[in-house]
């Protein structure tokens, strides 16, 4: 193995030697190296395998367009597949390996595909694998799925870790006057000019070093540039890729914070996802050099010309000793000179007839010459060349590297994200950005300007455009013209081979060849999008950065059209792929959604609560004593509530303050039942309907004063009801003088339920005489004080059917209130109860909740038709009885008992007639519980025609997904104390 490093070249720090590991072998590079340059310097040529044919691939570029050197970095949970070696900065201890190969990229069994490639033409998998070969016998998907398993294993590129990503990521926002994307000569000129005019400039550069293509120049100093820019007040963001421009001059950008650091500090995120909102954007994103499609143009050692210049001048790596450059344009001549000066033998094949260039005699220049086929298997042994006029007459040149330049493509992706169609420039054979109507300017080679001086000039023009946005008007100058080569470029996209199957690659990673494109055309895939999808051209990780234009030119040739007639393909964000972790930021794990807790959350946990997620809330589920299961626990809690008293956190209910002279009118219009005559100091249970007459939510409203109500909603619908009231007041009923304010967070609430609840309350309040049956009757409301003087609100309300109250207190006092209540309740052998017991108690009473009100149920279905006033109009009153909504055979709320009282059942069970256990059945069970009082399981749910129809008829509860089936009977949903004696006690 030889080092290809050249003394006196490069911007690497030779003082700092970095050890790294490639495919389990130790190598050395320098600070400032990319993984690609370090591998090249160590003469590691095969670094990857292609997607389909598993052909050996080497480094083919020096940037984000790379589609050959895709590697895996790291191991274990930090394993990062499909990393471009060309953009991965080298660090000490970097551990990288080849991928999509077994056992390794140097020798890969998958390489056998290469020899079978004649069968694997575009779309071959649509034509076979359906059934038994050779004639696809069979039915169904069985045979395909056997093939699929094999295909899936062979496909894919790198292997992902299955362990959680250990790193953190974050989102970040910024704002600026002008955002400049790219720090090449044009971007720098623009940024400096604008900063000189006192505007706030952010400069984004995807590389670790500033300079863009200047980095390929021998004497360029990126460190000096950085100092200069910072001193002019420019906010410089290196290692940051602008991957998309969105509406309103907003960009999305990815900053790689620690990807180049050996052992990053835990406090630092690995990457940041920036959303930057600018007033003007200057795109100076540069251009990419294209390759040329010809036979074997993918062998390790084949590379773009500009890449080899970068490797020489930025990294001090001379990539070949005997180099053949194939071109159709002028951009390669400077590189040829420098490669020659650095010690390589250089031969140029120029497809043009006449080229005027001052070249050293030691460089062979073949005009009118095309590359025909590269010779070699895993490395380049030579190249067959031929004249443009005679493809059959070939000469062979011995060489170890082939550089290609088929022209340059401005990076129009970012502006294309804005829907701006690129236009084809035939003179320079490239797409350039179309006319832009937003505050976006494109400068430099991204606009198709090749000459450095003109690029700088264009930067100034872009700066002027940006400053116009801010009303700063400078002397008008106009953009230099597109292009800038002294000898015109001539089309050279593909050199047709007579060999079959052809290995003229258009899209390297996906192994799409020129023949594939022609086959797709023959089969009728004549729109660009069809072609793309059929061949997978441009759908690899590089998104066609290298191959798209060649593909288009081949398509145009087939159709006998010009490239612009064929169209451009879609440039979709992101420009370069963005890790899902970065998109997610800190919203991972337990922070996926914010946790909402009640003010007595910690109190509940301290008192043994097991919690359960309810929307964003965590609520107490049950309070197990030692060794108790969920069902032990809720049955005990339910029993104690019915026997003495229990206390439950009900804070999660939505709470809304309704204030103003029209408060009564509002409440009366949104509930189905009348509220107009509710006295002060009383509460009422109410149902709200949607516009279409279906039940939306239930809750209570308490009248606190002449013009003031306190409304509670269900936990689930709290936010929805709040927005709904605001919508009604701001858009439909704008004449009502009412303010609505969410006070869900202001008040903590506890239910105190059971025969002893009044005794418990009496011990806690300042004046026990207030809490009597007369003074605080059922649905009475009291604003009072606890015994230490803390104000509180008490309402007598019951969802358990027992004598029960709810007490509300300002949230910061919630712990104190619970201490008081609990201390008192313990004296009566009371308990704390959770959601499960709450559910059991309400099922016994036939109270409906979200499990029943599923958005299809009418107020009549729910057995609450009596609450629908016929004397007033309210939201939904018109629609609630339309058509079949008032039919007799609707599914109506009922209770269910198992016939065999030892039997249990589940919610979600379908109710069927005995001899017809299929289809939709005649009903369903929505909520179930064990009823300690009745001594067996009970349920509520719906049955077609209601209780009347099915009384005394045995039905079947079918629950096949849980392998259960039982006989059941229909009963009234009010299963305990149907007269409500206890509630009014």
């Amino acid at each position: 193995m030889t080092s290809l490093r050249k003394e006196n070249y490069g911007k690497i720090n030779r003082e700092k030697v970095l050890g790294f590991n490639w495919d389990n072998k130790e190598y050395f590079g320098y600070e400032g190296d990319s993984l690609a340059s370090a591998l090249l310097a160590n003469d590691v040529r095969i670094v990857g395998r292609s997607f389909k044919y598993h052909r050996p691939r080497g480094v083919m570029s020096c940037g984000v367009e790379e589609s050959g050197a895709l590697v895996t970095v790291g191991s274990g949970s930090s394993r990062d597949p499909n990393v471009r070696a060309t953009t991965q900065e080298l660090y000490s201890g970097l551990n990288a390996s080849g991928q999509n190969a077994f056992p390794n990229v140097n020798f890969d069994f998958g390489g056998v595909n290469n020899y079978l490639s004649r069968f694997f033409a575009a779309g071959f998998y649509y034509k076979t694998f359906m059934g038994l070969p050779p004639f696809e016998w069979g039915k169904g998907t069985g045979i395909w799925m056997i093939f699929e398993k094999i295909i899936r294993k062979a496909a894919g590129m790198g292997k992902a870790s299955r362990e959680p990503d250990p790193d953190s990521y974050e989102h970040a926002n910024d704002f600026c006057d002008v955002l400049v994307i790219g720090s090449g000569p044009a971007g720098i000129a623009a940024a400096q000019e604008i900063a000189n005019n006192k505007l706030d400039v952010i400069l984004i550069e995807q590389d670790s070093l500033l300079g863009g293509n200047s980095l390929s120049q021998k004497d360029f100093d990126p460190y000096l540039l950085n100092t200069q820019l910072k001193s002019s007040g420019i906010r410089v963001m290196p290692r940051t890729t602008a991957f998309g421009i969105y509406d309103n001059t907003i960009i999305g950008a990815l900053e790689r914070v620690t990807d180049h650091v050996p052992n990053p500090h835990n406090n630092l995120p690995r990457q940041r996802f920036w959303t930057i909102r600018a007033k003007h954007i200057i795109v100076a994103s540069g251009a990419l050099e294209r390759h040329i499609a010809f036979n074997n143009n993918d062998l390790p050692g084949a590379m773009t010309v500009n890449a080899s210049k970068h490797y020489l001048n930025r990294y001090g790596v001379l990539t070949g000793n005997n180099i053949v450059i194939s071109t159709n344009n002028d951009s390669v001549y400077q590189t040829a000179k420098e490669l020659h000066e650095a010690g390589s033998k250089v031969t140029i094949l120029d497809s043009r007839e006449n080229v005027n260039h001052d070249l050293s005699k030691d460089i062979d220049l073949h005009l009118n010459t095309l590359p025909f086929s590269i010779n070699g298997r895993k490395k380049i042994d030579g190249i067959d060349i031929c004249k443009t006029t005679d493809l059959s007459n070939k000469n062979t040149i011995i060489c170890d590297q082939v550089l290609m330049s088929g022209g340059w493509s401005p990076i129009v992706n970012l502006v294309s994200h804005r829907g701006i169609k690129p236009t084809w420039n035939q003179e320079n054979l490239c797409f350039i950005p179309g006319e832009i109507k937003e505050n976006i300017s494109v400068v430099g080679s991204a606009k198709g300007i090749w000459d450095e001086k003109n690029c700088i000039e264009s930067g100034f023009v872009g700066a002027n455009e940006a400053m116009n946005t801010f009303g700063i008007h400078k002397k008008e100058i106009s953009f230099p013209s597109v292009g800038g080569w002294s000898n015109p470029i001539e089309p050279l996209f593909e050199v047709k081979s007579n060999k079959f199957p052809s290995k003229s690659f258009v899209d390297f990673q996906h192994d799409v060849t020129a023949e594939d494109v022609r086959l797709a055309h023959r089969e009728g895939f004549i729109s660009v999008e069809h072609l793309k999808r059929y061949t997978t051209l441009g759908m690899a990780n590089d998104q066609g950065k290298m191959g798209n234009i060649i593909g288009l030119s081949l398509m145009a040739e087939q159709l006998d059209k010009t490239i612009p007639q064929v169209g451009t393909t879609v440039f979709r964000p992101p420009y370069t792929p963005v890790p899902i972790g970065a998109l997610t930021g800190r919203n991972v794990g337990k922070h996926f959604r914010p946790l909402r807790v009640t003010p007595m959350h910690q109190w509940n946990i301290d008192h043994g609560a097991k919690m359960i997620e309810v929307g964003l809330y965590q609520r107490p589920w049950y309070y197990p004593k030692k060794n108790e299961t969920l069902s032990d626990s809720y049955i005990r809690e339910t029993t104690i509530v019915r026997k003495t008293v229990g206390i439950c956190d009900v804070t999660s209910l939505g709470k809304i303050a309704i204030q103003g002279p029209d408060a009564t009118e509002l409440v009366n219009r949104i509930y189905t039942n009348p509220f107009a005559k509710l006295p002060i100091g009383k509460a009422r249970y109410g149902i709200m309907l949607r516009d279409d007459g279906i039940v939306m939510d239930d809750g209570t409203s308490w009248r606190l004063g002449e013009n003031e109500y306190f409304m509670t909603t269900s936990t689930a619908a709290a936010a929805k009801v709040m927005s709904w009231l605001e919508e009604l007041l701001q858009t439909r009923w704008t004449d009502l003088k009412v303010n609505v304010t969410s006070v869900s967070e202001q008040w903590a609430g506890a239910a105190i339920a059971g025969p002893k609840s009044r005794d418990v309350l009496n011990e806690c309040v300042f004046d026990p005489s207030e809490i009597t049956n007369d003074n605080l009757p059922f649905m009475g409301v009291l604003q009072t004080k606890l015994k230490d003087g803390t104000p509180c609100r008490v309402v007598r309300i019951s969802f358990s059917g027992e004598l029960a109250y709810e007490m509300y207190i300002e949230s910061d006092y919630a712990h104190g209130m619970m201490d008081l209540l609990w201390e008192s309740a313990q004296k009566y052998d009371g308990c704390l109860y959770g959601l499960e017991a709450l559910g059991a108690l309400r099922v016994e009473k036939g109270h409906v909740t979200a499990a029943e009100l599923d958005g299809r149920v009418t107020i009549d279905d729910a057995g609450l038709g009596k609450m629908a006033s016929t004397k007033k109009s309210y939201i939904g009153s018109a629609m609630r009885k339309r058509g079949v909504l008032s039919a007799d055979d609707r599914e109506m709320l009922v209770g269910f008992f198992p016939i065999n009282e030892k039997e249990t059942f589940n919610a979600g069970t379908i109710v069927c007639e005995k001899n017809n256990i299929k289809g939709q059945g005649v009903g369903r069970i929505t909520s179930v519980t064990h009823s300690p009082e009745l001594g067996h399981w009970i349920g509520i749910g719906f049955v077609r025609g209601g209780l009347e129809k099915w009384k005394d008829i045995t039905l079947i509860g079918a629950d096949p997904v849980r392998n259960k089936q039982m006989e059941i009977k229909v009963v009234s949903p009010h299963m305990i104390d149907p007269e409500g004696k206890r509630m009014y006690a």
């Binding site: 069979g138 699929e148 992902a160 899902i580 972790g581």
Partner: protein, 421 residues
């Protein structure tokens, strides 16, 4: 036409792939057709195919304003399932799934339907019971459906977030026969099969006007000239309202909303099922394509739109959901995302029905369900057009159901199209 099979693939390997035919012709529009289907997406192509195959109709054209499959057919996450429970909906989607099961053979085109199981996670006992209701109804219709407890789930998909998930995973509702398919090949397969039965597929043929009498459509103005038709079917999800207005028919119970889809870079097999997740306000589904990309999607983009483009906050939302169930995806990179325009109906269910015009038929309102529905959609729509009577499974899938109070709302979300995502 050269049949697609291993033998011909092998033969062509030696003959330079020269004997493959065009997969569908590029005919010149005739002056008149018996039946014109507007819309060259999966639904339109499938309708034409079944009209020709099941009903022996000749002289059919499919009009496509761009290139076939360029709308939602090519912009979805390719999930195929039949876990619907409302009357009619279930029968319809189950029929569709059955058609998918043999579609490759039927069309002689590998649509790569992979019955890898659709796994719908639940996170609370309430959600489990809600799923049980749906999956019980499936079972009572003879469709496969099961509930997996946590242990079974862990055994099948070991690398979900069972450790520190914000909403702990408790189990899953599973349909094993469900899975995903290759969307483009379904389009091309239907096109090729329809074409071989004589259907004219007219691309770049945009309907620009509708010429009608009081009760009838007489002809369609198109970018390729006037074309007369005896019967016309609309199957242009996302743009139904536009055509409807063009035909002078007023408003529809449909709003256009957009839905995004995402793919990552290719990786070696990581996920062998379709996994679905809906909790904490998120709605999310993910699977891995045969090529190795993770394919995922989430909620609608919140607001009405005809633009085939997504918005950034939803991209972030979907990424969050992806990480929430598969925290190993952190380093996997998003490669592309795109959006499709959905025909969101007021109850989340579709329309296959007659219209106020005697020779116009409507196929619309596919909401999220369009891709999986396409074989059955074509099948029942062809049936409707041929027999002029709706099949009993789609008898309520008409425009009158709202005034009649007939509820086939799978979600119970009410008349707000954006909530049916």
């Amino acid at each position: 036409m050269t049949r697609f099979n291993a033998w011909n693939v092998f033969k062509n390997g030696f003959t330079g792939q020269k004997s493959w035919d065009r997969q569908w012709r590029d005919p010149v529009p005739k002056k008149e057709y018996d039946i014109i289907i507007v819309g060259g997406g999966l639904h339109g192509l499938a309708t034409a195919y079944y009209l020709a195959k099941n009903h022996n109709k000749k002289n059919i054209a499919v009009l496509e304003k761009g290139w076939i499959g360029g709308g939602n057919a090519g912009r979805n996450t390719t999930i195929v399932r039949s876990n619907y429970m409302m009357p009619g909906n279930h029968e319809f989607y189950e029929h569709s799934l059955k058609l998918w099961e043999d579609l490759s053979h039927d069309l002689n085109y590998n649509v790569m339907f992979s019955q890898r199981a659709h796994v719908s996670l639940f996170h609370s006992p309430g959600a489990r019971d809600g799923a049980a209701r749906r999956y019980n109804i499936m079972r009572l219709h003879g469709t496969d459906a099961e509930l997996w407890d946590l242990e079974t789930l862990k055994k099948n998909i070991p690398h979900l977030n069972y450790e520190d998930a914000r909403f702990p995973i408790m189990g899953a509702a599973v349909q094993r026969r469900a899975g995903n398919a290759r969307h483009d090949s379904a389009v091309w397969g239907y096109a090729r099969a329809a074409d071989s039965l004589g259907v004219d597929i007219l691309q770049n043929c945009e309907v620009t006007g509708v010429k009608r009498s009081q009760n009838n459509i007489e002809s369609l103005e198109t970018s390729r000239g006037t074309i007369k038709a005896k019967k016309v079917g609309f199957a242009v999800a996302g743009h139904t309202s536009v055509l409807w207005q063009m035909a002078g028919l007023g408003n529809l119970p449909i709003e256009s909303h957009k839905l995004q889809a995402f793919v990552t870079e290719s990786i070696k097999p990581l996920l062998d099922h379709v996994v679905v997740y809906g909790v904490g306000g998120a709605h999310f589904y993910i699977s891995q394509s045969d090529k190795g990309s993770m394919v995922f999607g989430g909620d609608l983009d919140w607001y009405k739109s005809y633009a085939q483009r997504g918005n950034l906050p939803i991209v972030q939302d979907c990424a969050e959901a992806a990480m929430a169930i598969m925290p190993c995806l952190g380093r996997i990179r998003l490669l592309r995302h795109w959006a499709g325009v959905m025909d969101m109906s007021m109850d989340g269910s579709f329309f296959i029905c007659k219209t106020p015009l005697s020779n116009l038929y409507l196929n619309a309102g596919w909401n999220y369900g369009g891709f999986k529905a396409s074989p059955a959609s074509g099948w029942y729509f062809a049936d409707l057009i041929a027999n002029e009577q709706p099949h009993k499974h789609v008898q309520n899938h008409n425009l009158e159901r709202f005034e009649k109070g007939i509820n086939i709302d799978e979600r119970g979300a009410g008349p707000d199209p954006k909530l049916h995502g």
